[in-house]
């Protein structure tokens, strides 16, 4: 046993690679089960009869309610006519709508990008020792217990015959059959009693027999849990750990392996626009090979990440990884999923020269502005550039001259960056930081704008190629990426000393918080095109994303402002006394602390956005909810079958939201919110 243990600990070190041995605070020793139950369920241990009566009463009431709900859910999930096939067959439809088969590899490339990034990130995070055996045993007990309880609790099924028809019995349980008139009678053609007819149910014994597989799974989990709990002593149970990430990877691996023996749904679209069952001819539209490749990518990236974490230059690698995460949504959406058709003539004649102009001249300008001893000229030049940017917008408004939107935005960005220049005055290396940052930024910006403006090569039945969960996740991601900086800026403006900024931010925030989101969505999908100059038109996706961004930013701004108010005045005074500029004070001292304090509300807002994307169904986007509620039930095979689809998407939403909430808890702990 001791050999086994020591080898486990070695394995743990190798797998989790706990870079630093994290000391583990021993938690409370575990109570014996009966004592635990008494204390936690029946209010013993407080030494008063009243507490025991109250505790027992509440426990019985709530346990009863929970059991009833559990039983109802199980009855639905396992009933013969729940119609889970409508979900299983339509998985691809639910997740990607009618993304064309011949381009489906693009979806997998996108998933692959996420898998690689996720693997690298997991490999590079510093992790604690993992899950203690005590915790794992508790999980096994809970799940095993839940399964066994469910097996016992679920109603015996209603019997159906081979045609899927329900069978009936009289009140004594004697079976009735249909005669030629389709009315229910006894076997020997005696007419059935007019009352007391009910659907024929399995008897309890037969039902339990049918659920043998579940019995075995439930009891096995309980047995393994018990083995861990009772064979290991209390102390070792609490101090033996299984690394978390490898455990999670193993779980994912198990899930992926099911694609090899279970068909998680497959259908193909026909030329006529209908669909037919069958695995499809293309590897990309099957499940097992793509998912296996994704899993391998994930694991390989994880191992690579573990190696990189040890590398000396892991700091810059981490920054690069974060940047890749930020850019991934844009590139997967616009460059991979949309399959852009590049207009090379335009690229060479316009895009490239503009890029060279802004990267080169802009870089040179910033280099000049960071020269030591430049004095006031720097600020004046920055203001001049900003004024030029403002002028281009005014010009566009009155239609004086036409100009690419990209140019206007680039000038604006250059002006804003020029304002930052005084912070980088100094030696060549210091100055180079700003120039390199600018060139990188403007390169990515121009590349993105070019991609966004390029026509898509993907032909889909509906106008918007993105649908299903794909649209949900992209709208949520873009909303987060844009609303976050906007929200921070609004919070800064609202707390700024300049009345103009303060008033504008306050008006914005109050206005957007006072309008229902759904109204905003209608406004942006219906009205906004009226206000745009003739040549411009918002696509549906762009319109709804903008609505979400503007709406979410108002709430985020208030969260961040709350965080800023929690910062004590001494922090500002200390920064001022050290001679930090306002920008430096905000960037290094105020915002980092404010964001830390506001992690819980920020994540709350993010989760809300993720779920609120389901409102897209109302403004005509084929999002996840609409696929489950309208599209699947419209198929002839599954006419009207809504419940399983809705239950399924609820589960997916829940998993996403729960994962975010868990992540935020981890982040809070890591950043020590409340401790410092």
């Amino acid at each position: 046993m001791s050999d086994l243990l020591s080898s486990e600990i070695d394995l743990e070190k190798v797998l989790a690679g706990a870079d630093e041995e994290l000391a583990v605070r021993p938690d409370e020793p575990s109570l014996p089960p009966l004592e635990w139950a008494g204390k936690n369920l029946f209010g013993t241990g407080q030494g008063s009869i009243g507490a025991i009566v109250r505790g027992t009463f509440l426990t019985v009431i709530f346990a009863g309610l929970a059991l009833l709900a559990y039983r109802a859910v199980l009855n639905f999930i396992f009933s013969e006519n729940a119609g889970w096939d409508s979900v299983r067959i339509n998985l691809r439809l639910l997740f990607t709508q009618a993304y064309p088969d011949e381009n489906y590899t693009r979806v997998w490339v996108t998933v692959g990008v996420v898998a690689v990034l996720a693997g690298l990130s997991l490999g590079m995070t510093k992790v604690g020792p993992g899950f203690s055996f005590k915790r794992i045993a508790t999980w096994l007990f809970s799940w095993g217990g839940l399964i066994v309880l469910g097996v016992l609790l679920r109603e015996p099924s209603v019997l159906t015959d081979s045609n899927g028809e329900t069978r009936f019995a009289d009140s004594r349980g004697v079976e009735l059959v249909r005669d030629t008139n389709n009315s229910l009678v006894y076997q020997n053609n005696d007419p059935a009693p007019s009352t007391g007819i009910s659907a024929l149910r399995e008897n309890f014994g037969a039902a339990m027999g049918d659920r043998l597989g579940w019995w075995i799974i439930g009891l096995a989990l309980l047995a393994i849990g018990a083995a861990i709990w009772f064979v290991l002593g209390d102390l070792r149970r609490r101090t033996t750990f299984v690394p978390a990430i490898p455990l999670a990877l193993a779980g994912i691996g198990l899930l992926v392996s099911t694609t090899w023996w279970y068909r998680w749904g497959h259908y193909t679209f026909t030329e006529e626009g209908g669909f037919e069952y069958g695995p499809g001819e293309l590897v990309a539209t099957s499940t097992r090979i793509p998912w296996t490749i994704m899993f391998v990518l994930l694991v390989v990236a994880y191992l690579g990440g573990r190696l990189l974490a040890r590398a000396t230059a892991s700091g810059p690698i981490r920054i690069g990884l974060s940047a890749a995460w930020l850019l991934a949504p844009f590139f997967t959406y616009y460059a991979i999923l949309r399959g852009p058709i590049m207009d090379w003539a335009h690229v060479v004649s316009t895009d490239l020269p503009l890029w060279v102009l802004f990267a080169g001249l802009g870089g040179a300008l910033l280099w000049l502005l960071t020269r030591p001893g430049l004095g006031e000229i720097g600020r004046i030049l920055a203001v001049v550039v900003l004024a030029a940017a403002a002028f281009t917008w005014v010009g566009a408004f009155f239609g004086w001259f036409s100009m690419l939107q990209k140019v206007r935005l680039s000038v604006l960005f250059l002006g804003l960056t020029a304002l930052l220049a005084p912070n980088f005055i100094g030696e060549a290396r210091q100055r180079m930081k700003l120039v390199v940052g600018w060139v990188g930024f403007i390169t990515i910006f121009h590349l993105l704008v070019t991609l966004i403006n390029t026509a898509s090569s993907i032909e889909t039945p509906s106008e918007d190629f993105a649908g299903g969960f794909m649209v949900t996740i992209y709208v949520a991601l873009f909303t987060m990426l844009f609303s976050f900086p906007l929200g921070v800026l609004l919070a800064l403006a609202r707390t700024s000393r300049m009345p103009l900024f303060r008033v504008m931010a306050t008006v914005y925030i109050e206005a957007f918080r006072g309008v229902p989101l759904i109204t905003m969505l209608f406004f942006f999908t219906v009205f906004v095109n009226i206000f745009l100059p003739g040549s411009m038109e918002l696509s549906l996706m762009a319109a709804v994303t903008i609505a979400f961004v503007l709406f979410s930013a108002a709430y985020l701004a208030e969260n961040v402002r709350g965080g800023m108010q929690a910062i004590r005045r001494g922090q500002y005074e200390a920064s001022d006394a050290l001679g930090l500029t306002t920008v430096q004070r905000t960037g290094f001292i105020v915002l980092p602390q404010a964001l830390r304090v506001s992690i819980p509300p920020l994540v709350g807002q993010t989760i809300a956005t993720f779920k609120e994307t389901s409102l897209l169904a109302i403004v005509g986007v084929f999002d996840f909810l609409r696929m489950a509620r309208d599209v699947v039930p419209a198929q002839t095979e599954f006419l009207g079958t809504r419940k399983p689809g809705l239950l399924f998407i609820s589960a997916v939403y829940f998993i996403g939201a729960y994962a975010m909430s868990k992540y935020s808890q981890r982040l809070e702990k890591k950043l020590g919110v409340g401790e410092r």
Binding site: E573, L578, G579, L580
Partner: protein, 259 residues
């Protein structure tokens, strides 16, 4: 009033030094309440001045006016020959030459001790990171806690935090250090370690202006003591004179209450 010859000699030597801080008729109002009433004093290079006075007498207000954490409404403040006006460049220049240590430390809790110290040298003084970190470690050595560099402020004792705060201020290589009750928030056993650092700093020739209630420190280290009450300077003098033979009644009353 008789001042010994030795004191006169010292005063003459002092008079020949450059003026570091000149406060000339400084008035400061909070709304209708006048917190400073024509405060006039000059602090010379390498001089250590301790400001005493009852609570609410305007000590903090005055010291905070000197690096523009508060804005005075009337009178003039000159620091190292630069006048404090609304011109931001002057304020920036003065702030980078004047270090300040607060009663409540005001360390940045979200970054390590070393980062607390190097932040301003890197971003305000534009020092290369390596050089700044070396400076930071040297300063931590000087205040006696080199081993705490990579901890977060919250993990340090009060006395250690205040020493980090002093190191942070010194990292800007200031010509003047202002202390506003640096030991008032500390447990008695930690006060000494902070005062020792301050004494060492005074010996090294730093110009210092210290608001404190530590009479022992004032007696031992101060070149001059300034006594304030109700926003006015009541009495100024060298410590031996101030503690043993004060002229003003208000000073006598104050001393009788605290000694």
């Amino acid at each position: 009033m008789s001042i010994s010859d030795a004191t006169t000699a010292v005063s003459e030597e002092m008079a020949s030094r450059a003026d570091m801080i000149v406060s000339d008729g400084v008035d400061k109002w909070y709304g209708d309440f006048q917190a400073l009433k024509g405060v006039t004093a000059t602090i010379k290079e390498r001089e250590v001045v301790v400001v005493l006075g009852p609570s609410g007498s305007g000590k903090s207000t005055w010291i905070r006016c000197i690096n523009r954490l508060e804005q005075h409404q009337d009178g003039r403040i000159m620091v190292d020959g630069v006048e404090l006006t609304n011109d931001t460049r002057n304020i920036e220049k003065i702030r980078s030459e004047v270090g300040m240590v607060f009663q409540s430390f005001n360390l940045f809790p979200h970054i390590t001790v070393l980062d607390n110290i190097t932040l301003a040298p890197i971003w305000v003084r534009k020092k290369p990171r390596g050089e700044a970190e070396q400076l930071g470690r040297d300063l931590l050595e000087r205040v006696g806690i080199p081993e705490q560099a990579d901890k977060f402020p919250g993990q340090l004792s009060g006395g250690q935090q205040q020493r980090v705060a002093i190191a942070r201020a010194l990292a800007m290589e200031p010509r003047i250090m202002l202390f506003d009750e640096p030991t008032s928030a500390l447990d008695p056993e930690m006060i000494k370690e902070v005062l020792d650092v301050m004494k060492e700093l005074a010996r090294s020739g730093m110009t210092m202006m210290v608001v404190t209630h530590e009479m022992g420190f004032a007696r031992e280290v101060a070149d001059r003591i300034i006594f304030m009450e109700s926003g006015e300077i009541v009495e100024v003098g060298p410590p031996e004179h101030f503690f043993t033979n004060p002229t003003e009644d208000r000073t006598k009353l104050f001393l009788s209450q605290i000694l």
